[in-house]
Amino acid sequence: MKFSYLYIIFFFLTNHLEADDLKIYNIGFLDIKEDMRYLKWGIHPVDIRSKLNKEKRPIQGALLAIEDSKKFTRLTKTKFLIEHIKKKNYEDAINFLNSKNVKKFETILLDLNIQSLKYFKKILKNNPKTIFFNISDPNNDIRKNICLDNFFNTYPSNAMYTDSIAQYLVKKKTQKSLLLTGPLVEDEKISSSFKESARKFGIKIYKEKFFVNNNDPRVRDKNNLFYLTKGKKYNNVFISDTDGEFALGVPNATMNPAIVSGSAGLIAKAWHWSYLRHGAPQLNGRFERMNNRRMESKDWAAWISIKTIVESVLRIQNISNKNIIEYLKGPDLQVDGSKGIGLNFKKTTNQLRQTILLISSNNWTTKVAPLEEFTDSENNLNTLGLSYNQTECKLEE
């Protein structure tokens, strides 16, 4: 026992040596407590009240990626560390991004519903050495307006989602849409994205109607499906309902037989647990064992963000962000997202090209977009989402 302190010193020394052998790469995960997207939107009304309900925060996808990254250590010689930066509300998150604390991290995953884009872009521009990932906001305007080398979108854009649905509707020869738009700003964004997709793929929007989710008999033209869906001039209904409760009742309740898609019926997702190919069951299995729930789109986006960083370090054998950004934007990146195809980023918009899963109300992968009938001269994944010319990025070059 006399020399026990020697053991302690030895222990620290060996630990220290081990840590010295590995380079350290710090990742931050920024989210806010008061986030409607996890408190209410898209959550089944029964689940909101249920004791079994768990907030499905994508930090869990990021933690899985960190766990997976440990399996790369022999080749990356790098330890990837993550810190969960929890803020109360959006203002606090912005204050953090404006603070010097940002410099503690090489990469930050943003789990935010991004507001006032111009200002947000300025913040990102002030931190050119940090890599940022948008892992949960589908807003097309982010892709159109924020064209920065250090900002990447791994979560699909609304355009990618609505293009996927549009391709499916064209394939099924149901090209006459009734568009139902909800009261939230986010609903409008989805509907305007669907209108762009309709133009792109030749779908005719017969009428757009605006719904409210209440029982007021004075506005029954807005809350009653008998009035909202009367007429026979459509053969599909696209519904934009971020809150999600109203949309649940639309399939099987339209006055005219119609495919329902958007926020109910056939839903476009980045990820779903019913996908059984390309190693997806293994990824789902790892996530479920770790987090005791099923993996969702935002979890996947958080997971793939860190995976692209790990993949870059693996290939370039270097942890400098300058080189990582170069690799992420270059032609060699082919990251495996368990979607059966090598994934990489679109130039300038820095949107991760990916397949989109079209999921039925019965939790089944009905189809994977892009559909094989839709081809592009460079990469078929380009038939989903905004093309370079639809963005402001061109003007900035």
Binding site: D68, K71, F72, R74, L75, G279, Q282, G285, R286, E311, L314, R315, Q334, V335, D336, G340, I341, G342, N379, N380
Partner: protein
């Protein structure tokens, strides 16, 4: 030697030759119908063996009396007696076994456990689990014993690498970075080269096993098919012809590669998402499994074209030919 002795000798040899030319059985594992389809040498289906959940890789015992089949969802390897075509026993394999190999001396089985990111080593005779090797990367898949059985090579899909394990000490002794999503491995040229199929890179990495250096990355390119749809998975190897046949998955073609100069000599059209491959008929025919069209293609390697396709079970995975 008298004249009639010579004639008898020739006749006998002719029959021996015939028996080696014709294969006795062809086995196809169907991962989504939980069965193995057995075909005879005339390629007629003679039996369907029920295996239970998700049969995938298959290998023959050294004496060719048994066929081992991993049954992934049941977490075991089923042992089929080839004489009776019945399952006679089960070997526990660890969770979610996928691909396995038998050591050259026939004493060990090494199997990849994809879900647990492990390799399990099993004693063939006692059927006991001898060891579990962890930290072999994310989603290990391909498993191959080196020629003398000294090492086990494992392709790790999620980590884009080949992990090398010392069979005796069960320690990981090396790891080599290859292309993206490496699926299977193949030792050729007397164990001097290890070929790895990179599903998402559309390539094969050729490793010199003597110095563990990469000799070449061989990229496939099929006219009229996008590079991103070229997804190599399985191999078949003819040492006689020094040719390697690589199934190209979603490209629906099989590449024929010359073993000595690495030239890609031909792309032969097969069925939808071609995966498993095995040679038969004195290396004049190649049989491949088509996962998305639920059939196998018979490819005539002299004419270099598919001559027939035979429906089997749902999502055929591996094909093995008893020679």
């Amino acid at each position: 030697m008298k004249a009639y002795e010579i004639i008898i000798f020739i006749i006998l040899n002719f029959f021996i030759f015939l028996s080696t030319v014709q294969s006795k059985y062809i086995f196809v594992s169907n991962e989504n119908s939980d069965t193995i389809t057995v075909l005879n040498k005339d390629k007629k289906i003679i039996k369907t063996i029920k295996t239970g959940g998700r049969p995938r890789d298959m290998k023959f015992s050294l004496d060719k009396t048994l066929l081992y089949v991993v049954v992934s969802e049941e977490n075991h390897i089923a042992v089929i007696d080839i004489n009776s075509l019945k399952i006679i026993s089960y070997i526990k394999s660890g969770d979610d076994p996928e691909i396995f190999d038998i050591s050259p001396d026939g004493k060990l089985i090494a199997v990849s456990n994809e879900d647990d990111n492990e390799i399990t080593i099993i004693d063939v005779k006692t059927q006991d689990k001898l060891a579990t090797i962890e930290n072999v990367g994310v989603e290990p898949e391909g498993v191959n014993f080196s020629k003398n059985g000294e090492f086990i090579y494992v392709t790790s899909e999620g980590t884009n690498s080949v992990v090398i394990i010392n069979t005796k000490t069960r320690e990981i002794v090396n790891e080599i970075l290859v292309g993206n999503r490496p699926r299977r491995g193949l030792f050729i040229k007397d164990g001097n080269e290890y070929w790895v199929s990179n599903e998402l890179s559309g390539s094969v990495t050729i490793i010199d096993t003597n110095n563990l250096k990469i000799i070449k990355n061989l990229y496939f390119s099929v006219k009229g098919i996008r590079d991103q749809n070229i997804t190599p998975v399985d191999f078949a190897y003819s040492s006689k012809l020094d040719k390697i046949y690589v199934t190209l998955g979603s490209a629906n073609h099989v590449a024929v590669v010359n073993g000595s100069n690495y030239n890609i000599e031909k792309y032969i059209l097969a069925g939808s998402r071609v995966w498993g491959a095995a040679l038969t008929n004195n290396d004049e025919e190649l049989i491949v499994t088509n996962g998305n069209s639920d059939d196998i293609s018979i490819i005539d390697l002299i004419k270099q074209t598919a001559v027939s396709s035979i429906p089997v079970g749902k999502t055929p995975h591996t094909v093995r030919v008893m020679k």
